[in-house]
Every structure is written in structure tokens, then in C-alpha cells.
Amino acid sequence: MLEIATDRETAPGGKSVAVMSLSGELDAASFGDVIEHARRLIGDGADGLLLDMTELVYMGSSGIFALHSVAMLVQGESPPDPEQGWAAMHDAGPSSDVVEQLKILSPQPQVDRVLERTGMKRFFEVHTDRAQAVASF
């Protein structure tokens, strides 16, 4: 089960940063909620998104899909629809560069291990201090 709390901060440079605090487990049952929350926050004008994983105790492979989809959203692209099945997507997804608009805060050991193993840390900055994370946008 996953609980999502959201709030807003303003980075020193004036950018609006939406903070999504994830609590519980990010898995096949909950990854869609993360994507939809992100979609709303970005639609409401957030310039960047900080995923606070301080209270996230588990992330499965569906969490990686959610990260990828949110990365596409913050870059102004449309993420793939997991319900479309075999429909071919013309959009090839985010570039291989670091995604500046999406950052991660304080992943717990199991989650950090998944981020490391799957290579996600190459594309997303991981911070341990919330104030510094917000300031980095």
C-alpha cells in the first residue's frame, strides 16, 4: 500500500518545486497513482518534482516504470500508456542525460539498491537533505 502526500516549495531561483512524499510500498498496485499525482502537479504548474522516498520501504520494478513515466512528464513528453499493450510508441522516451526536473530524496536501503542496480541514479540526482534538494532546482 502506498500513501502520497504533496506540498510545494519555491527554489532560490524562483522555480516552483512540487514535493511528492511516498510512504509505504511502490509496486504494481500503486505505481499508477504516482504517475497520476505527478501529472496533476505538473499540470498545476510545477517546474520540478522532488520525490521524497524517506518513508518508502519498498520499490519493485513497477516503480522503475513510474520513475520513467514521471521523467517523461516533467520533460513535457507523454509517457507510454500501460493499458495500450502492443501499440507502438513513436516517442522514444527521455534522453539519456540527467533529468534536471525530477530528483529523489533519501531513498531507504532497499529502494536505493534498486535505483543503483537499474541504473536510475545515472539519470536522477539523489539528495539526502530536503532543503539542498529543493535549492538544486
Binding site: 504494481a28 519498498y58 519493485g60 520494478s61 513497477s62 522503475i64 516504470f65 520513467h68 507510454p80 500508456d81 500501460p82 495500450q84 499493450g85 502492443w86 507502438a88 510508441m89 522514444a92 522516451g93 527521455p94 534522453s95 539519456s96 532497499q110 542496480r117 537499474t118 541504473g119 545515472r122 539519470f123
Partner: protein
């Protein structure tokens, strides 16, 4: 009636998927064992053994884990397996195989699923193993006797998500009696009734006990038995796959 039809089709799909998983190779001086337990009738884990010119004494294999479960993952599994088999014949080292496969998978973008994968090339005469890791769980190297073990670290990125990824080949030397165990996260993330994870330490302990007393099959069965004891009947939530190889003593 509709449910019966679906169940029947799933049973057929399961047989087809299982038929895609090859028998373990037989090579003098080596033992191999592979185990696959899907969480549903079909799943997204896979392994494959490929030979390239048997007289050169080279064996290649891959283990992979598609995000998701059930029918979508199974279809992606079949597609990924075919892509990897095709690229294995054209590519250079293991990293090149995975990077070439990634380009095809990101271009196809079928079902929007990703996969982790580890590709390895084994020199059966020398025991040198060259491998590349695309976001997969770190394999366990257990030295003969089972007392010493290490997780083989190799930086990587999952396949099918990002257009351009960089992977590198790593090498490890297997001496007589050494064991390599590859697995999917369904092993370490198997849960008991209290929600606890089986974890890396229990995996290493089971693998080491198996390696101390027997060959690749013994190691694989030791791991599966340990998981069964730990989960104690709790529902299986993810596919579970093991590939174990051991260099013999002669």
C-alpha cells in the same frame, strides 16, 4: 465458459513459454542448473543458453526479468529473448549484445515494458567468465568450499527504457570448485506471511551451503528449499528464476 476458455489458453501459453526455456548444457568439467517458477501461469523472467562454435568451447547465456507479470510480461519476454538471440550472433562482447538489444527494444517500445538482463560468456577450458549487466541483480560468486563469496558488481542500466546506454564488459575467473549463481529479484524479494523479504543474506547462506556440499543442482535446490522454508506457504508475488554454474574438479 469464458473463464474456462481463458484458463485453457493460459495453460497453452504456459506450455509455449516453458518450451522457450532451453535444457541446461552439458559440458565436461562443468555442471549447470536452471530453475524457473512463474508467479502466474506465465511470467516475464527468462534465461537462455547459446553455444557459439562448440569446438571453441564457448558457452553464452543470459538471464532476464521483464517489468510486470502475467501475459504482457510473457509476451515481452518472448520478444526480448528473440532479440537477444539475434544480436548475440552479430555482436562483440556481452556488453555489445545488450546495447544492441537495447536499441531494438527502445525502438520497438512494445507494451512499454522494460527488462533487466545479464549476459555472460564462459570459456569452458580456462574458466574465464566475461559478463555485462543491464540493471540486473548482482550474481553471486562462491569460491570452492562455500566459505568465501562475493557479489559481482557491474554498472548498468535496464533495457528498453533509454535510447542510449553504456555498458561495459567485466571478467571473473572461475577456478575448480567455484560456483556462480544468477537469479531474478523474485528470489531475494520473496516474502513470508509477515511481509519480510528473503533477502541477500539468506540467499548467500543457502547458496554457500549448497556449494559446500554439491554441484550446481545442489546449489539451486538449496536456494529453492530455503525460500520455501522462509515463505512457508505465503503466496508467490513475483517470478523466480535461478541459473547456477559450477566448475568441477576435473
Amino acid at each position: 465458459m469464458a473463464r474456462d476458455g481463458l484458463d485453457s489458453e493460459l495453460a497453452v501459453a504456459r506450455r509455449i513459454q516453458l518450451s522457450l526455456l532451453p535444457a541446461c548444457p552439458v559440458a565436461p568439467g562443468w555442471t549447470f542448473e536452471a530453475k524457473y517458477v512463474p508467479a502466474r501461469e506465465v511470467g516475464g523472467d527468462f534465461y537462455d543458453f547459446l553455444y557459439h562454435a562448440r569446438d571453441e568451447g564457448r558457452l553464452e547465456f543470459v538471464i532476464g526479468d521483464v517489468t510486470g507479470k502475467g501475459i504482457p510480461a510473457a509476451l515481452m519476454m518472448a520478444h526480448s529473448r528473440a532479440v537477444l538471440r539475434s544480436e548475440a550472433h552479430h555482436a562483440g562482447g556481452p556488453a555489445d549484445v545488450l546495447m544492441r538489444a537495447n536499441r531494438i527494444l527502445t525502438e520497438d517500445r512494445l507494451a512499454s515494458l522494460f527488462l533487466s538482463g545479464l549476459y555472460a560468456r564462459v570459456d569452458l577450458a580456462s574458466g574465464l567468465v566475461t559478463y555485462a549487466n543491464a540493471g540486473h541483480d548482482r550474481p553471486l560468486l562462491i569460491r570452492r568450499g562455500g566459505a568465501e563469496y562475493v557479489e559481482l558488481d557491474a554498472p548498468g542500466v535496464i533495457l528498453g527504457a533509454f535510447r542510449s546506454i553504456e555498458l561495459t564488459d567485466c571478467v571473473v575467473q572461475l577456478d575448480a570448485g567455484d560456483t556462480l549463481a544468477f537469479y531474478t529479484d523474485g528470489v531475494t524479494e520473496a516474502r513470508n506471511g509477515d511481509g519480510d523479504l528473503f533477502g541477500d543474506e539468506r540467499l548467500a547462506l543457502a547458496a554457500r551451503r549448497g556449494a559446500a556440499s554439491g554441484d550446481a543442482r545442489t546449489v539451486a535446490l538449496a536456494i529453492l528449499d530455503a525460500i520455501a522454508d522462509f515463505t512457508d506457504g505465503a503466496a508467490q508475488s513475483d517470478d523466480l528464476t535461478l541459473v547456477v554454474l559450477q566448475r568441477g574438479w576435473g
